[in-house]
Symmetry: C2
Subunit: 289 residues, 2 copies
């Protein structure tokens, strides 16, 4: 998820850090890394891993930027090292979904979407919003039923009972206001008129449109990046993209005529600020020699 935009941006050195499980990397992860031609892989994790790549060790050369999700400790460590290295401009923490439904939605499908999200971990956030009270009731019944059918039901149950919210809201306008306040990592617009919502959604990591676009698809192979802003950070940031690895440098060129034309107002402003040295460096280039 991080490697592809980095490759597209032309990053020369890509380092993967992943704690693995009991010191072993998952073969599927290694396969994906190989597909991305990542050659530098360290089986390390947690805050100490962040420190290792930020400052370097005897075995690991320091990196310039650290991108990717992690638990609360990793997030805190990244914030700590920021400035010495770059990090992405958002918080990638526990996962969140907000689903908007209408009377055309299939309650069985919607319930499975919420459970799919809730099974991630205890801190996952699941929110259902609808104008249709009876649909909300049906989804709730379906959740109870389907929770019995999955192996990670205790995690999902705990997540839903502590961070699950069912909201009955009376108008599309109010729904949009609430969604923009939540600024969810994932938004599913499981409604017939999703096109009328789209231009009004200002804050969300990614938006699934229509009944077939289920969030689980975005976890794996629909192509959108899945490292997305959580915890309301979609209000000021976006998912990981090639922008994360792309730099812009400003170039300024001035001809003799250019400085003669723009220089006098710079001299005025510099003197106003009491920066005579600034004014001098411009003056010297303007006066005839």
């Amino acid at each position: 998820m991080n490697a592809i935009p980095a490759i597209v941006a032309g990053v020369k050195r890509i380092v993967m850090i992943n704690p693995g499980f009991k010191g072993k990397q998952n073969p599927a992860v290694l396969y994906a890394a190989r597909k991305c031609k990542i050659k530098e892989i360290y089986s390390i994790g947690g805050p100490s891993a962040i420190a290792a790549v930020a400052y370097g060790t005897k075995k690991i050369n320091k990196v310039n930027k650290i991108v990717g999700p992690g638990n609360a400790y990793v997030a805190a460590a990244k914030k700590e090292v920021f400035g010495d290295v770059g990090i992405e401009g958002m918080t990638a923490g526990p996962s969140e979904v907000t689903i908007v439904c209408d009377k055309f939605s299939n309650p069985e499908w919607v319930a499975s979407d919420l459970i799919g999200q809730a099974e991630h971990d205890n801190l996952a956030q699941c929110i259902l919003i609808s104008k249709d009270k009876s649909l909300i009731d049906k989804v709730q019944n379906e959740i109870v039923k389907q929770l019995k059918e999955i192996p990670r039901s205790s995690i999902a149950r705990q997540s839903l009972s502590s961070n699950g919210i069912l909201m009955h809201i009376s108008s599309d306008k109010k729904i949009i206001d609430v969604v923009n306040k939540i600024a969810p990592e994932h938004l599913e617009l499981n409604v017939k008129n999703y096109n009328s919502f789209v231009p009004k959604i200002k804050s969300s990591g990614s938006v699934c449109l229509g009944k077939y676009a289920v969030m689980a698809m975005t976890d794996y192979n629909v192509g959108s990046n899945h490292i997305l802003p959580t915890n309301g950070s979609a209000k000021y940031s976006s998912g990981v993209s090639v922008n994360e690895f792309y730099k812009r440098i400003s170039y300024i060129n001035l001809s003799k005529k250019g400085i003669e034309s723009l220089g006098p107002s710079v001299i005025t402003l510099a003197n106003y600020e009491g920066l005579a040295g600034h004014a001098q460096s411009v003056k010297k280039r303007i006066r005839r020699k």
Copy 2:
């Protein structure tokens, strides 16, 4: 410097915080704010001002993102509130210039550029690099002479003696390596063959090309943004631009045929990860009802 890219990006609420001097805003600053149509201005500064806009007070509504330079305390405060609000992805700290010169450079001009930078504050960083030893000597003599001519000479002298470096480097290739290691906020390529340098400069905030493009011009009116990465952060970030205020949201739409074609591999991957709930949410949409 911040307001214009924010306006271009379509930011609806723009707040200016500026401590002013003895509680009074500088009229020139207010004039610039008026030109940018900024209506919300608070005469506050320092870490407490950062906290005020990050979390809100009785009089100030919280903002979503805080952008702009500040001293070390402001930079630390911004890092602290990051996550609750957005901040730019770089460090905008004490100012820096690196100047590359050749035998065609005018030592009087170059000396004035270094002094213009050094008069900012004690922590300003001034570096001169050249293949030409005699030019370095001439610039050094000019600095001594010109330091007597500016009002802020004691600041400039202190800055140059603690953070000023004159480097004699034998080849353009080595010069480029050193510049990329420094990753200066400002780079002046005061050399005849600046075009051969440009594609090789990987890390710098902004680059002034040729003998007339002096950094002081970029402080005021040449049009490039002047809030630039310092302290080596040009290795992983860029100056403030419209990108700082622009968000991207991914939209995902799937047809019935789409999920039938992409879904099976998602089910395989989700089951491999032990996420049966994810697999279910896809399965339910594929099976015929």
